[in-house]
């Protein structure tokens, strides 16, 4: 610990409570950080690729989830080590930005750190290493752009999009049905996509899960599914040509925000109050009814009396609709969200072709489907599966697929998967390394090695001999000058990824390499860790 001495040789303390703090400096700090980050990357590395394995995570409350999604794994691992946490954030930012490749980014960071450790042992200064990585990263990115290809996303019945979705789903537990699910995801995204602006608002795709059935029963509903039923058991179960009144005020007497008291001091007052109270409900229902609405969706609850009045007035209603659903319905049906009964006007109603209750299984659970909305821009993917865990995992997988499709719509450049892009970059970086005359040369060369680690890891997970297959692919890439040679994970008999049609988006790959390099640089800059002792 840092101790300083004053003029008289008495020690004094610089850090507050330093006796209770733990401190690591210099090489010790570098190594400890790198080892911690590597430990996380090691856990994830076996999940990479189409034959990657899953992780079983037990939450503090004993709930089990099984997943293959990198971001979810690191999030649920509840990592405590400060540097390892950086990797968690790395995976999450990839998830937020791109939505896919969350495992790959962490594995790449792990490989880079592994290389950095060797370089540190050689006595190269961390800043030189990070500079070298930086330059190598630029080269790799540039090369990625040159080898990328533009594809026509709409050609051949959106075949390219389906293929890309299949690549994203290939590594998940639902891979058996990747084609069907891929198609569902593509249709969903295209339904809500604004192709002119090349933009997709993912909020318009609702993913609803429901245990039961099997993954095959997953389907796309061109409308909105909400996990609610009609407020009164005897209301009609189906409303055709629905005019939807979207309310965010409860069917109850108003509760003014100001604190107030109404004092009743005579029987007359009491009776008046009673009449007034009854009037409230009648008025509310009348206001809704008069606007021409034939179904009311409300974010809040109903009083029994109001509920019955709604039934009596043949006005089906749904209560406790969640806030996000209310917004989604508003967007899809063109309804305006109405916060006060007085403001209900016919123009503010949303329109939909049909609102109906559907039932699942034996346990009598019902959900409400709003179909053929006026502005048809919202869809729901209803995911089914044998157990909660499968359903949850399928939800994460479909989310990944949707993100990939969105990215392709935004930017239709692709690179080929199966480790081919990484390998091509590695070759390029290696060539560049020889041109650098300073110490960075070593770091750049290591960067290339780290990039090769990805196809290595893929091959390993597929049960192939990693060294042979990577060497073979690399040699072939150099010989034929073909950047599409990768690892044949699916054992289809060809190592040309174009033939295997393994697509990955350029944006995702670029982001992976950039983010991983950034995090590694950050970790390499830490030379001092001060933490409370019991941390």
């Amino acid at each position: 610990m840092s101790l300083a001495f004053d003029d008289y040789g008495r020690p004094y303390i610089i850090l507050r409570d330093q006796g209770q703090k733990k401190r690591m400096k210099g090489l010790e700090a570098y190594k400890s950080n790198i080892l911690a980050a590597k430990a996380v990357a090691n856990t994830l590395s076996s999940s990479l690729g189409p034959k990657g394995m899953d992780k079983m995570l037990v939450s503090p409350d004993g709930d089990v989830s099984v997943t293959n999604d990198g971001a979810t794994i690191v999030e649920k691992m509840e990592i405590q080590h400060p540097t390892a946490k950086l990797l968690v954030e790395l995976s999450q930012s990839q998830d937020a930005e791109i939505g896919d490749g969350t495992t790959g980014v962490v594995v790449l960071a792990g490989k880079l750190l592994e290389q950095a450790l060797t370089l540190l042992d050689k006595g190269i200064h961390p800043l030189k290493i990070s500079d070298g990585f930086d330059r190598a990263c630029d080269v790799a990115i540039k090369h990625l752009e040159t080898i990328s290809e533009e594809i026509d996303i709409q050609a051949n019945d959106n075949e390219a999009l389906v293929q890309a979705a299949c690549t994203a789903l290939g590594s998940k537990v639902v891979s058996k049905r990747k084609r069907e699910l891929g198609k569902i995801a593509v249709t969903a995204v295209l339904d809500v996509a604004d192709l002119a602006r090349r933009d997709v608002n993912l909020d318009l795709i609702k993913i609803q899960t429901k245990t039961g059935g099997s993954v095959e029963d997953t389907r796309l509903i061109s409308g909105i599914l909400i996990d609610k039923d009609m407020s009164h058991p005897q209301m009609p179960k189906e409303v055709k040509d629905a005019k939807i009144c979207l309310l965010t005020c409860p069917f109850e007497p108003p509760k003014p925000k100001t604190k107030h008291n109404i004092n009743i001091s005579s029987a007359d007052d009491y009776k008046k109050l009673y009449l007034q109270e009854q009037q409230y409900f009648v008025d509310m229902v009348k206001l809704v009814k008069n606007s021409g609405a034939n179904i009311a969706l409300c974010q809040w609850g109903f009083d029994d009396e109001a509920n019955h009045l709604l039934l009596q007035n043949e006005l089906p209603a749904v209560r406790w609709v969640s806030g996000t659903d209310v917004e989604l319905i508003a967007m899809a049906t063109g309804a305006r969200i109405i916060p006060r009964f007085q403001e209900i006007t016919p123009e503010k109603l949303g329109k939909a072709g049909c609102v109906k209750e559907v039932q699942f299984g034996t346990s009598n659970e019902r959900m409400l489907v709003i179909e053929n909305c006026q502005c048809t821009k919202a869809v729901t993917i209803l995911i089914r599966g044998g157990s909660q865990m499968i359903v949850d995992e399928a939800k994460r997988s479909i989310h990944d697929a949707i993100c990939v499709i969105r990215n392709l719509i935004k930017d239709n450049r692709i690179v080929y998967g199966g480790g081919s892009a990484e390998l091509a970059c590695a070759i390029q970086v290696l060539q560049y390394a020889d041109e650098v005359s300073s110490v960075e040369q070593y770091a750049i060369r290591s960067f290339a090695d780290a990039l090769e680690g990805i196809p290595c890891c893929l091959a390993d997970n597929c049960g192939l001999n990693p060294i042979t297959s990577v060497a073979q692919a690399k040699a072939l890439q150099l010989k034929e000058n073909n950047p599409r040679i990768g690892i044949d994970c699916m054992e289809l008999g060809t190592i040309d990824m174009k033939e295997q049609r393994i697509y990955e988006t350029l944006s995702s790959k670029k982001q992976q390499i950039q983010l991983a390099t950034q995090v590694v640089k950050m970790i390499l800059k830490i030379d001092d860790v001060i933490a409370p002792d019991d941390y």
Partner: protein
């Protein structure tokens, strides 16, 4: 520590653990197989029951459950092992989805994993095993659909099918000796629903006393309530008003209201006003001219007396479900306001006869000849509440299976026939498939064949011999053969009339394969530090 011996920094929280590779796999296999073995002995007509005894302090300690139902057993178990939890989860889903086959699904998943473990030991990569299982599953399901048959819903054959399915389902339950009686009873109840799968209309009332044989199906609707004293006990041609309204006193719903008075007189006035308000409500109700008034909430003496004076029979405090059923059965609307007496005809329910009856020692209200004739009641009798609970679960299973059959209509032969045929289909497929997957397909066939084997074992018969002979019969082309668990032989299921619902089998195979695959894919288990609970 890593391989070189460096001490790794602690990445996870204290008390959190991480198991990788073989260790992780071992853990999940052991857990899942243990759970499957636990429920294994309840499988089949000769399966045994389990006693579930709750832990924890207090009264609940003494309430034990005796059951044969897989879902109930698994649900009540507290397990730590994550893989075991997955099995419990699928069993629950099976229960919700089709209602029966909850034991089968857990056992099948367990057997699949047991076979999977052997393959892993032979150094076959889990992904290969999964690839094989997936092929096998599709082949098995295809065969299942091929061997199933369908009858027209109106036909007598379909009715017979239903009775046979009910008998088969009941044969593994406590009431197996009375299965003909109960099968008939359940089929009648389900057919009343006319194709709807809403089991709400079938009410099950459990009353200790008598024997199981005294249970019966009542074509009316029985409400477990009493008619208020001073009212007529028998009403013919009843007009029923079903309400959900406060009949004790009307709470003022306007926010912030307080009653403040400065003299005793005023109190009396308010009291009178309150009374008047209630009278007013009763008057409004009377305008509907009901002969019976059913309310969900409490009714205080005053309004009760007013209603009784007008010759209306009052039933108070019906629970919510009961209310909904009364409303559905009699075609009444549930009212909360009473301002539109002109809608009288459409809101009032109707039934031919309401009377108070005694079942055992309890008084109940029976509605016969309801407007909508779908509702009915199954009254279960039995010597103890434990038996009744178990019978209730069994009847629920049967009803679920029957409604599923009514919806799906496809049936297969029972007695392990479908499993053996599926296994045969897998074996045929395995001969055609190239690569290591074939081993996994064979393993799948073995796991499927374990189900009839376990059924035999549970019956105390020589499973090895029976299953072999069974297989030979199938190879000979006797495709309707199956296990005759009464005699411990194999026999023609067509003669014995053992049928099962295809949908239940289908769902069981699908769910079990999905779960096994899920567990198989895991190579790493991370357990977070358990949340600290403060004992407040």
């Amino acid at each position: 520590m890593d391989i070189v011996g460096n001490v790794l920094p602690q990445v996870l929280k204290d008390e959190a653990t991480e198991d990788k590779g073989e260790m992780a796999r071992l853990q999940s296999f052991v857990g899942a197989i243990a759970v499957a073995d636990l429920v294994k002995t309840t499988l089949g007509p000769k399966g045994m029951d389990k006693i579930l005894k709750p832990t924890g302090p207090g009264q609940e300690m003494t309430h034990i459950t005796v059951t044969n139902d897989g879902a109930t057993i698994l649900k009540s178990m507290y397990v730590e092992n994550p893989a075991a939890k997955i099995l419990i989860e699928i069993s629950k889903t099976q229960d919700e989805e089709v209602g029966d086959g909850t034991t089968t699904v857990a056992v099948l998943a367990g057997e699949l994993l047991r076979e999977g473990e052997k393959l892993i030991q032979k150094r076959i990569h889990p992904q290969h095993v999964i690839a094989g299982w997936r092929i096998a599953r599709d082949v098995a399901l295809k065969r299942l659909r091929d061997i199933s048959s369908e009858n027209d819903i109106e036909s007598q054959e379909f009715h017979n099918d239903l009775v046979k399915i009910a008998r088969t389902t009941l044969s593994s339950k406590l009431i197996t000796q009375d299965r003909d009686y109960f099968a008939d009873l359940c089929v009648k109840a389900v057919l009343r629903l006319k194709g709807s799968s809403n089991l709400d209309y079938i009410q099950i009332i459990k009353l200790p006393g008598g024997t199981i044989r005294d249970s019966y199906l009542d074509d009316g609707f029985i409400l477990k309530k009493q008619i208020t004293i001073g009212c007529k006990r028998r009403i013919e041609n009843a007009k029923i008003l079903v309400a959900n309204t406060a009949m004790d006193y009307d709470k003022i719903k306007i926010y912030g209201t307080k009653v403040k008075v400065n003299s005793m007189d005023k109190v009396a006035e308010i009291e009178a006003a309150e009374k008047e308000k209630m009278k007013h409500k009763v008057d409004k109700i009377l305008k509907y001219q009901p002969t019976v008034f059913v309310n969900r909430q409490l009714i205080y003496n005053y309004p009760e007396q007013l209603l009784a004076d007008s010759g209306i029979t009052v039933i108070e405090h019906a629970d919510f479900e009961g209310m909904e059923r009364v409303a559905a059965a009699t075609g009444a609307e549930i009212l909360s306001t009473f301002d539109a007496p002109e809608r009288r005809d459409s809101v009032l329910g109707h039934c031919d006869l309401i009377e108070e009856i005694m079942i055992g020692e309890e008084k109940m209200i029976k509605f016969t000849g309801c407007k909508k004739n779908e509702a009915c009641t199954i009254v279960l009798r039995g010597s103890s509440i434990h038996i009744l609970d178990e019978v209730d679960r069994s009847i629920h299973d049967v009803l679920c299976v029957l409604t599923t059959t009514v919806k799906n209509r496809r049936v297969v032969w029972g007695g392990g026939n479908s499993e053996m045929q599926m296994a045969a289909a897998c074996e045929e497929e395995a001969k055609k498939v190239q690569g290591k997957q074939a081993l996994a397909i064979e393993a799948y066939a073995r796991a499927l064949r374990q189900i009839p084997t376990i059924i035999c074992d549970n019956g105390g018969y020589d499973s090895a011999e029976l299953i072999q002979n069974f297989n030979v019969e199938l190879q000979k082309g006797n495709l309707t053969f199956g296990l005759n668990m009464n005699d411990g032989t194999i026999g023609d299921m067509q003669e014995l009339g053992v049928k099962e619902c295809m949908r239940v089998k289908e769902q069981a195979v699908m769910a079990a394969s999905e779960a096994a695959e899920l567990i198989m894919r895991v190579d790493d288990i991370v357990k977070c530090a358990p949340r600290k609970r403060d004992r407040a």
